[in-house]
């Protein structure tokens, strides 16, 4: 169920008070687990079976790892199981489509039947979360979680189940062990996070989507200004959509006494591509860093290996985004490749004194935003052909009136300016009580008046 829907409100109105009552008893964790499975099962009653399967395999492989001298073998069991599951659901269609395309290009009159099932929502997130537990245990970074129920609650914790943030066991399991304090401040903080997330999603992301869809669904009908603006709007749409979800997830968790990690840190204020990846989808990029990049050797084995490791990590990241029943599976891989080359080209440049000290901050931010925006074309386009068509038409199709809503641009500018102020010396102005209260009231008022009437799913729910 979507956070911005009435079923979720009703769900929370039932789960939350009972949770507050039960959290000090041994039933609290059971209630939390039951609520999480109910939340997941609301989307599809079969989904809880899948998450229970993942939970059980990883719980027991770690239990065996603890007792066995063949620790690596059990780690491989866990990794193969998790990656295999992901591969099965995520890439069966991708592989089928591409094999069929290959067969067609070789003029072989045979077609492999498409898999005919949908990617379970959230699977990429909770599998990564569960895998981090087994890998961290293997590395000796954490102790084994003895309680299956607590481990299951860690994997399935409903606020972050569908779209992260991807929590680490060493950060979240201890929170499940102690009775969470839920103070009035926690509730106030949770509401603050939630309202910001709700505004980002409904008032901003869903609004920008209207123009983006109009242009990206028929790029051949639009000229350069429309394509540029649609790309610009999409960059903000995906940020508002994803970070909005995270804010709401963190808000709900906070109201329950849990602290989830920050997942987005004003990424469009990044002053370099590396900086961007430290601000965007932080839980995923740090996961890839810790479990792919560093095991490959990171930056410790010379320049060539460093770049190789960056390349492989970004390709895998692109593949992670490539989903089933998405017509643009290869485009995500290309998106990863584009970022890879961007990192290659800028990595050395960003280390120079000239870049660090002479290039104005605004110029750096603009450069990074333009690059990231360009890469988003591949992320958003419906196919590789569409992506190339958009890029080509941006540079060759001439000028026409883009008919882009001024209100959308005004809102984006307002948000960008706020973020800019937040990371500047005049941040204190934003912290004034009157300013904060006014912003919240305006957000609520805007949501009441301007919000579209239908609920829109989140972009990252399909990964």
């Amino acid at each position: 169920m979507l956070f911005q829907s009435w079923p979720f409100v009703i769900f929370l109105l039932i789960v939350y008070p009972i949770y507050l009552v039960l959290k000090r008893t041994r039933f609290g964790i059971f209630w939390l687990l039951a609520a999480s499975y109910f939340f997941y099962g609301w989307i599809n009653p079969l989904y809880p079976i899948l998450i229970i399967y993942v939970t059980t395999i990883d719980y027991f492989t770690v239990a065996r790892m603890e007792k066995s001298s063949h620790r690596k073998m059990w780690l491989i069991v866990s990794v193969v199981n998790n990656v295999g599951l992901l591969g099965f659901f995520k890439y069966a269609g991708f592989i089928t489509d591409n094999l069929n395309a290959l067969l067609m290009s070789l003029k072989i009159p045979y077609e492999i039947a498409p898999p005919g099932f949908l990617l379970p929502v959230g699977i990429s997130f909770y599998i990564f979360q569960s895998m981090s537990y087994t890998i961290d245990f293997y590395r000796g970074n954490i102790t084994r979680e003895k309680s299956f129920i607590k481990y299951a609650a860690f994997v399935s914790f409903f606020p972050r189940l569908l779209m992260g943030p991807i929590e680490r066991a060493k950060n979240f399991l201890p929170q499940l062990h102690k009775v969470p304090d839920v103070s009035w401040s926690d509730i106030a903080d949770g509401l603050s996070l939630f309202i910001v997330g709700l505004f980002k999603k409904i008032a901003l992301a869903d609004f920008l989507k209207l123009y983006v869809v109009r242009v990206y669904d028929n790029p051949e009908q639009f000229q350069s200004p429309s394509l540029i603006l649609a790309t610009f709007l999409f960059a903000w749409q995906i940020y508002f959509d994803f970070s909005g979800y995270t804010d709401m997830a963190r808000g709900v968790a906070r109201m329950m006494g849990f602290r989830l990690r920050l997942n987005f840190n004003n990424p469009y204020l990044a002053t370099g591509l590396s900086d961007f990846w430290h601000r965007w989808h932080i839980s995923l990029s740090s996961w890839f860093r810790d479990y792919v990049y560093i095991p490959l050797g990171g930056n410790r084995r010379g320049t060539f290996n460093t770049y190789r490791n960056i390349f492989l990590t970004m390709i895998i990241s692109g593949l992670w985004h490539a989903g089933l029943f998405s017509g643009a599976t290869l485009t995500f891989v290309i998106w990863g490749v584009v970022h890879t080359f961007g990192l290659f080209l800028t990595r050395e440049m960003e280390r120079t004194e000239f870049y660090k000290k002479k290039v104005p901050k605004l110029v750096k931010q603009l450069f990074v935003f333009c690059f990231v925006g360009f890469a988003w074309i591949f992320f958003r386009a419906d196919s590789i052909n569409d992506a190339w068509l958009i890029i080509k038409r941006i540079f060759t199709s001439g000028f026409s009136n883009p008919y882009c809503p001024v209100l959308a641009l005004v809102l984006i500018f307002a948000v960008w300016f706020y973020q800019f102020m937040y990371e500047s010396r005049i941040k204190r102005l934003l912290e004034l009580k009157l300013v904060r209260i006014t912003i919240v009231v305006l957000m609520i008022f805007y949501l009441a008046v301007f919000a579209p009437s239908s609920e829109q799913a989140f972009i990252y729910m399909r990964f």
Binding site: A188, R259, V406, R436, I444, F450
Partner: protein, 373 residues
């Protein structure tokens, strides 16, 4: 040791309110919730003229309907309510039934509270939630048998049926099988019935933004300021167009056209009839004197079997009304040339119907009786 509690930044912005600050924000929002609708009514001009009826384009604007009821309460003595037959599809507003009744009395006595497209199931919701000002009045409540002309029109089918005014019908119980709105939408609809501000927002969208969400409107009007679109002048109040085309009229008035596609639903099993009965009770509970006008349906388009079934239906309805001591009048069918289609009269048809009403004893004693308490 968990790094989370101590080192995790709260957020990437400063929008963090304390409990006290949330209370202040909440109070301000609640104040807006109550003040804005009141201030809006002061600011938006609403001066219905004689024989006013809800503008056709604003048929789904229930906030405006409520406001109109409140205004009519102070200006008129008798309310006439029903579907497009009362609203006056195919005629101008001074030639509707209430218009013709006003002509007879030479006095703006009758208010047209009809709403185009409203069927009994929706009428129940409309008067329940938005018609609270209809109290201690004389009310002519029209029943159009067309809503019982098939199981589909009676909302009894299982297959999804997109009917008019879905937000007014029962969202949960009694269950309407052909109504397939998602759970979330139903909850939203129910909540809106009790909070004024969302209804006002809908009114603003319908009236000033062509029924679009404001974001969608800005896609269609990218360079216009949405705030400037709100002129505080209801756009269709002065202009009152006749709905329905001349061609439509000519077709449905062809001589000798008979229709046997009606599958009349009997009152005993009719969902629409049960809603209509509850509407009568609701009005009576609010101190209104209710007079039911049944039809008159254009019997000239019915063939032998269908005509017989309709006449049985009409007799059954009359019996039920009489048994429940509800004043009513079920006039005979008007002459064929005074109908535009199955249920809508022409201007002359409304004139004749008005005269028939004035000649009806039950109508005279229950509605025109000046001595009612």
């Amino acid at each position: 040791m968990s790094e989370n509690n101590a080192t995790v930044p709260f957020s990437s912005n400063s929008i963090r309110l304390s409990v006290g600050q949330w209370i202040i924000a909440g109070i301000v929002c609640l104040a807006f919730l109550y003040l804005i609708p009141a201030l809006w009514e002061q600011s938006e001009q609403f001066s219905p003229g004689p024989d006013f009826r809800m503008p056709y384009e604003l048929s789904n604007d229930y906030w405006l309907y409520r406001r109109y009821c409140r205004w009519a309460d102070s200006q008129h003595e008798i309310f006439v309510t029903g579907d497009s037959v009362i609203w006056g599809h195919f005629v101008s507003r001074n030639n509707t039934l209430s218009g013709q009744l006003n002509k007879i009395t030479e006095h703006d006595m009758f208010a047209n509270l009809g709403l185009d497209g409203i069927h009994p199931a929706a009428m129940e919701g409309l008067l329940h939630y938005y018609g609270k000002n209809i109290s201690n009045k004389n009310v002519i409540l029209h029943f159009n048998p067309l809503w019982m002309s098939s199981p589909k029109q009676d909302l009894q089918g299982d297959k999804e049926f997109i009917f008019n005014h879905p937000k007014l019908v029962s969202q949960f119980t009694p269950k309407i099988p052909c109504y397939k709105a998602p759970f979330s939408a139903r909850i939203s609809t129910v909540l809106r019935r009790y909070i004024v501000l969302p209804n006002l927002i809908t009114h603003i969208k319908i009236t000033y933004f062509q029924s679009m969400d404001i974001p969608t409107w800005t896609i269609e009007h990218p360079y216009e300021n949405p705030l400037k679109a709100v002129t505080f002048n209801l756009p269709e109040v002065a202009k009152d167009e006749i709905q329905g085309t001349r061609d439509e009229r000519r077709q449905t008035r062809d001589e000798g056209r008979r229709d046997d596609s009606y599958q009349w639903v009997i009152p005993k099993t009719s969902f629409q009839w049960s809603c209509f009965q509850r509407t009568i009770q609701l009005l009576q509970k609010r101190g209104n004197r209710v007079f039911v006008l049944v039809g008159p349906f254009n019997e000239h388009i019915l063939n032998g079997a269908s005509l017989e079934a309709y006449q049985n239906l009409k007799d059954d309805i009359e019996l039920r009304l009489a048994t429940n001591n509800i004043d009513y009048y079920a006039p005979p069918a008007l002459p064929a040339e005074l109908y535009v289609d199955a249920s809508h009269p022409t201007s002359e048809g409304y004139a004749l119907l008005a005269q028939q009403l004035f000649a009806n004893e039950s109508f005279k004693t229950s509605i025109l009786n000046p001595g009612r308490d």
